[in-house]
């Protein structure tokens, strides 16, 4: 059974057709990688899935419910969590408070004017931070963390919303290679345990081939291939796209 169905998604910015007629599905508990060269339209796809931008055409359905055109807030409440390519956390709050903020929202406590927020859902927040290995830094301001650590906090925040589908836009960008593999292994493990479906984009093919159950490939806004990793790797179209634009597959071949 697929949890997310994307049909004919299309978006242009002025003259640029960023995404053209993209259709795919994400299965329950599936780790699906969306890959493609820079500017292929991956982030634009994500933005349409979580409601940040409205598609020109096409539909997005989550477990049979139509999400197209809803606000990010509504879509989040329906169970779609997200991490950002350019991290977006709350710099003036501590790491723990960042996670608490999500928990407060999930429990619909945002209009509570009285009880101190910092003492709500403390254990739950610390538990989540423990899972992503950020518990020792729980009381540091989020604005001073190293980039890789912010990515971990984002993961904890995404998990805090107990999503059924998690969208991760380049979850490991800006990290050291070893850290990347670790973070993705962690994600895969958490996802397996919680039964969350994940759609992620990633430029590091080591990460993709180590963890993705299935891969879809986007090039200039259109889907050009999809299937299990070995099939996609050997697809001539995919190889051409990647040979033309960078050495990522070459690197993978060497490794």
């Amino acid at each position: 059974m697929s949890i997310l169905q994307v049909r004919d998604l299309t978006k242009s910015f002025g003259g640029v057709q960023a995404v053209r007629g993209v259709s795919f599905e994400v299965g329950a508990g599936e780790l699906l990688a969306l890959i493609g060269p820079n500017g292929a339209g991956k982030t634009t796809c994500f933005n349409m899935l979580n409601g940040q931008i409205r598609p020109d055409r096409g539909s997005v359905t989550l477990e049979g419910r139509d999400l197209t055109g809803l606000s990010p807030r509504r879509i989040w409440r329906m169970g779609v969590g997200r991490t950002f390519q350019i991290t977006a956390t709350y710099a003036s709050m501590t790491v723990r408070e960042n996670v608490q903020m999500v928990l407060l929202s999930r429990h619909r406590r945002l209009f509570d004017l009285w009880r101190p927020a910092a003492s709500e859902y403390v254990d739950e927040a610390l538990d989540l931070l423990e899972q992503v290995g950020m518990r020792p830094q729980a009381d540091r301001p989020c604005g001073v963390l190293a980039y890789g650590d912010v990515k971990r906090v984002e993961l904890a925040m995404a998990l805090a919303s107990e999503p059924r589908l998690l969208l991760m836009d380049e979850p490991t960008a800006g990290m050291a290679p070893k850290e990347r593999i670790e973070l993705m292994a962690l994600t895969a493990e958490l996802v397996r345990r919680r039964g969350v479906a994940v759609l992620f984009t990633e430029h590091d093919m080591d990460v993709v081939f180590a963890h993705a159950h299935r891969i879809i490939v986007l090039s200039r806004g259109a889907l050009i291939a999809s299937g299990p990793p070995p099939v996609v790797r050997d697809d001539p179209d995919v190889q051409e796209v990647y040979l033309g634009s960078g050495a990522m597959f070459a690197k993978e071949g060497a490794a």
Binding site: N50, Q52, S92, P116, S161
Partner: protein, 620 residues
């Protein structure tokens, strides 16, 4: 028919002067990204200098020489201001730029007062254009025809300048693309300075040309700059053509508005502006500001008061409670005012700090509170208790309505819109004579008998203001307050985790307005009267100064700021006639050397917990 045509033409003449001022403001903003509050001061100085020069020079050449001289003088002064002040502000948050240039307004006002005296000065008429012409049988001043022609002429000249000269092309490029300005390097300095010359010379020219039409006076600066703000905001910041269109619109609105609603032309003007901003948030011909400015360094996380701080607060409270036993009525009155201002400042801080909404017109809510209490007394004979209940309600209602518009905008546009709303409230209080008593104010707003002794009112203020501040603080630490800060820190993330950012901001704006209203109500009963100047721009700026003096990023800042500010003001007014000059200099100094405020500076000095210094170093 003739009458309507004459009205139309005088609207055009007004539009021309307005355009000269607004074009200068807009060009300066386009390149430097500074909203120059002091722009009106150059206009006023232009008028005064032209008056004095025309007095000295004689003959036909004398008058035009004086006009040209005044424009050049204003331009040179603009250069001096750029070199000495603005240059240090290019990277500051918008609020600091507005405040520092408002400091300049205060300085210029007092200097002009010292040089030209308080009287209105009626200048000579323009030689050769003293007469009138008849248009469809109606008399019309010849001089106004000249002005009408001048607007489009200046527009044309500016167009040539910006499209046909190297300098102008650079200016346009800088206006459209910030990155490219940075890449100019050394040339950037010269470009900015010369742009200031052009912009302020235009303002000076407009002021000088006004001399034959109206007496030069000390209120010209604020009046024109507020109008120019409206024009620039409607036209779109940085767009000269937009400024031209908007001047025509505003000129006509005033010419005909005065026929339809003589009392409320100002309201009409601001309403049009609010509507334009709702439909086109960047003005008619403006474009979105590319990068929102990174304002302050990220705030450090807030923490509930430590054990030590709690003890200090309790001790301070005990001292305040015991004080009436020890000091006389004068000290109690001053302290009562400090309490009230502390609540006012805290309410503004709530909107600005956690809410991230810089209000440049918070006096509106202070004033609505005061008038809410005053009007209830005047028209219904209500006493103090209903008055103090009505005050936050009236202000909260005002903030609810105005806030709906305000939360749609951010940055300079938000600041301008809050300012505009404050001016609406002010003009209603000032002009709706039959209800508000106009500038005679409302007298006899005295506390109930039980609260009449100074010590009793002192306690009442302590309880209400202290309670209000406590509540605001409580809200800042609540989930609501956290969600508010979340929306300020990252609207993108907040939207993606289910926080309705605008709704939170709106609610916070309303709450902040209600708290300011309670302060206003208390203020009314402490003074026994209510006047329109409670809603003036200076009251709004006073509140901003209190918040900044204490430090925006601190929670105790507004309280300390209010105490320091009120103490200094009380002393300054006692010892000098030129308190505005001192205040202006103090504001500029504060923005330049002390931007994190008193409490912020103290916190920096305090010994810190281990690791914190390192973290802050990493953050840089």
């Amino acid at each position: 028919m003739g009458f309507l045509v004459a009205q139309f033409l005088s609207g055009l003449a007004h539009a021309s002067s307005l355009f000269l001022v607004a074009a200068g403001l807009s060009i300066i903003f386009g390149v430097t990204r500074i909203v120059n509050f002091a722009h009106g001061s150059f206009y006023m100085l232009g008028a005064f200098v032209a008056y004095s020069l025309a007095d000295r020079l004689s003959g036909a050449l004398g008058f035009w020489g004086a006009v040209a001289g005044a424009a050049v003088f204003a331009g040179l002064l603009g250069v001096a201001v750029e070199v000495l002040l603005l240059r240090r502000l290019y990277r500051s948050p918008e609020l600091f730029q507005l405040l520092a240039t408002f400091g300049l307004v205060l300085v210029v006002q007092d200097l002009a007062l010292a040089i030209w005296g308080p009287e209105d000065l009626l200048g000579p008429r323009a030689p050769g254009l003293e007469g009138i012409v008849r248009i469809l049988g109606r008399p019309f001043p010849q001089y106004d025809l000249l002005l009408i022609a001048l607007g489009p002429a200046v527009l044309g000249l500016l167009w040539l300048l910006f499209h046909r000269t190297r300098w102008g092309i650079l200016v346009r490029a800088a206006t459209e693309d910030r990155e490219m300005t940075g890449a100019l390097g050394v040339k950037q300095t010269r470009l900015f300075t010369s742009v200031l010359f052009l912009g302020t010379a235009l303002a000076g020219l407009a002021g000088a040309l006004q001399v034959p039409r109206e007496a030069a006076n000390l209120q010209m600066d604020i009046n024109i700059v507020v109008e120019a703000f409206v024009v620039v905001v409607i036209g779109g910041m940085g767009s000269v053509a937009g400024a031209f269109l908007a001047s025509l619109l505003i000129g006509q609105l005033q010419a005909f508005g005065i026929l339809i609603f003589p009392q409320v032309t100002l309201v009409l003007v601001f309403l049009v502006m609010a509507l334009v901003l709702v439909v086109r948030p960047y003005g008619l011909l403006g474009r979105p500001q590319a990068v929102p400015r990174a304002g302050h360094a990220p705030e450090t996380p807030i923490a509930p008061a430590s054990q030590g701080a709690r003890i200090a607060w309790a001790a301070a409270l005990a001292v305040l409670l015991a004080l009436p036993l020890a000091v006389g009525d004068y000290a109690l009155v001053v302290l009562t005012e400090v309490f009230v201002l502390a609540l006012f400042a805290s309410s503004l801080h709530f909107a600005m700090g956690p809410g991230g909404m810089v209000s440049f017109g918070h006096a509106a809510y202070f004033g609505l509170g005061a008038y809410g209490a005053g009007l209830l007394m005047k028209h219904l004979g209500a006493g103090m208790v209903p008055g103090l209940i009505a005050a936050p309600l009236a202000a909260g209602l005002g903030a609810l309505v105005f806030g709906w518009f305000c939360v749609r905008l951010s940055g300079v546009y938000l600041a301008m819109l809050t300012l505009a709303f404050a001016q609406i409230v002010w003009s209603v209080a000032f002009q709706w004579y039959s209800v508000t008593g106009g500038d005679n104010g409302i007298l006899g707003v005295w506390p109930a008998a039980w609260a009449a002794p100074k010590w009793a009112f002192y306690y009442l203020s302590l309880v209400l203001a202290g309670g209000g501040i406590y509540l605001l603080r409580r809200v800042i630490f609540s989930p609501f307050g956290y969600a508010l800060r979340a929306g300020r820190d990252s609207p993108l993330r907040s939207d993606a985790i289910g926080i309705p950012v605008k709704r939170h901001q709106w609610a916070a704006f309303t709450l902040s307005g209600a708290a300011a209203g309670l302060a206003g109500g208390l203020y009314a009963y402490s003074k026994g009267s209510v006047f329109p100047n409670l809603i003036s721009i200076s009251t709004s700026v006073d509140a901003l100064v209190m918040v900044l003096l204490g430090g925006v990023q601190t929670l105790t800042g507004p309280i300390v700021g209010a105490a320091v500010f009120h103490g200094l003001e009380t002393e300054m007014v006692r010892h000098t006639d030129y308190w505005r000059l001192l205040l202006g200099v103090a504001i500029i100094a504060m923005v330049l050397v002390f931007p994190q405020g008193v409490v912020g500076a103290l916190e920096r000095l305090r010994p810190r917990r281990p690791g914190q210094a390192r973290e802050e170093a990493v953050a840089r």
